[in-house]
Symmetry: C2
């Protein structure tokens, strides 16, 4: 059974069945021309949209439908986290190949719904349409934040320290592992996944497949007003550092030794014969937060991140000079090099 | 020059240059992780999303880029109109084939921006990503309405009259004309458009290419509280009548002779040997409004539509029995038939 065996309305019903009951502030929900919601009092609204596209952002050979649904929402929640906003609602726009199996459609919706539930986000509406080829999911999210708690990219000042949450490189390594395994499996004609587990490489693959947006950390950074600038690492740490520096009008010196490269990822990149640090810094999909904090804000930062199970690592400092420097300390004097250039979508 | 010759940021800059200056209520605009807006006081928010996809919703052989941009926003404005909401803001999600000409990209954005300007809607953010094939544009709109002015599909009562704005069938006929001309042109190797004008068929084609969302009329119907139910005709009048009847729990009798079929469209459908009324009722893309109004609300309806240059035609009545009937009056007694079934996306 494929999605083309059902009507649009039947598919919408299957989505609604997988969602939480509608909240009181939703005046008109799924099924009318538009959703109607009551705004939250004394809050600003934070809006973001992000599409994931088959063949560009995911490969259906090794990305299970549940992971596609998860990712479509996670990338948007990560944008809200980067602004210090609390998730509130989402609109889903699905562009579906008619041959998509109904089981896969259901699993995709369930993956998205499970993440929504964990972050108390309500799906209030959306749209379904046919695709002439690739599967695409476009999600719009709306969150809320108090005026003084909004985090932008533009507030870093010279002397601020720069931090990153969690570890980096894991998702990029996981994607490479999945690609290798999928190629090997298609040659050996046995299903992907088996090999991966045998190699003990499951953790990085899961990091790639199920990115965990740092919503609680973003909220805490906004509430405690401990971050002067913040963004999420959808396109890698090198890109994140560059964006904050440009938006804030500062330079940044990153201490290479301090960068929390995922240990398994480092081993993987080393084994591939590349430079693990560069691969980790330019690899995307980590969805960690990078943020800056004024000097002597260490106590407030510790207080903000208390009870949140995510590491926070200081990786460098903002400077008056506008250079972006990666500083490697060795046995001799430290050597400076330019921060590798980030990922650009269209060039 | 194609979009792939530019970076994502350069493309975003080209979009921003074509937009109105940002309004005061936009706290954080294009360029950060998300947009931040101040909500409007004492208003509900009305949210909708709609994607248009190359090969499904438009054919680039005969749809100029400006018309693609226009349509992407128009279909969403039409949803706001159907809810009685005033347009406020939009987020744009573009999925672009790398080979898209930069001139076409600019024209597409300009087509969208021109319609946004006319409806005082601000583009506050969005996302750009590559497509592995088709061009897709997904637009999210947010409008506002006072609580008691929101129009849903569910408020029609037995005895209410049912109305439609403007005329129907023009867009469906226009699409057929454009298809015929494009096929003829590709055989004769001369550019489309020429033939169309020679045949005097330009008006229907323009109706298809540049649908005019009935925003002012929707607002007036909501403000005057003259409509008990309302929706827009994205999928045709037959579908609209059916949806209002189902959501409201009523039946509807439509007077076939009263239906305002576009005159040129009727001539076209007749010439093609089909049933013009059925073609007009099941054809999509008209983006007119269909609405119901309580009996003896005629004076208020006239007052509401004063100064709005769109015809409003009474086409039938809501009934207690749940049947959907198309009544044809002739020389003998009237004959009743079932309303043709509407367009369904996935079956």
């Amino acid at each position: 059974v494929t999605v083309s065996d059902l009507t649009e309305r039947e598919l919408i019903k299957r989505i609604a069945e997988r969602l939480q009951p509608p909240p009181g502030w939703l005046t008109v929900g799924i099924g009318d021309d538009a959703a109607v919601v009551e705004p939250e009092r004394n809050r600003l609204e934070v809006l973001s949209v992000d599409a994931i596209v088959e063949g560009i952002h995911f490969d259906r050979r090794f990305t299970p439908p549940g992971a596609i649904g998860h990712r479509a929402l996670a990338v948007n929640l990560s944008d809200l986290a980067a602004m210090g906003a609390a998730p509130r609602l989402a609109l889903l726009s699905f562009v579906l190949p008619p041959a998509l199996l109904l089981d896969d459609f259901d699993a995709l919706v369930s993956g998205l719904a499970a993440l929504a539930l964990r972050h108390k986000l309500h799906v209030v509406g959306g749209n379904l349409t046919r695709s002439p080829g690739p599967l695409m999911i476009d999600v719009t999210v709306v969150g809320t934040a108090k005026r003084r708690q909004v985090l932008t990219r533009a507030g870093a000042r010279p002397g601020d320290a720069i931090y990153v949450t969690g570890s980096i490189g894991g998702a990029a390594a996981g994607l490479e592992m999945l690609r290798h395994t999928a190629s090997a499996a298609s040659e050996a004609k046995h299903p992907p996944g088996t090999d991966l587990r045998a190699q003990g490489l499951e953790r990085c693959a899961i990091r790639y497949l199920y990115p965990e947006p740092r919503v609680r950390m973003g909220l805490a950074l906004g509430r405690n007003r401990v971050a002067s600038a913040c963004m999420d690492l959808s396109d890698g740490l090198a890109d994140g550092v560059r964006q904050i520096a440009e938006a804030s009008g500062v330079g940044i010196i990153v201490d290479a030794a301090a960068i929390p490269v995922d240990q398994e990822a480092r081993a993987w990149f080393d084994a591939q014969g590349g430079d693990a640090l560069t691969s980790a810094m330019t690899g995307g999909d980590d969805y960690e937060l990078v943020f800056t904090s004024p000097p002597r804000g260490n106590g407030r930062l510790r207080a903000a991140s208390r009870g949140i199970d995510v590491a926070v690592t200081r990786i460098g400092i903002c400077t008056k000079a506008h250079d972006l420097i990666l500083r490697r300390a060795g046995e001799g004097p430290p050597t400076d090099e330019a921060i590798p250039s980030g990922y650009t979508h269209f060039r």
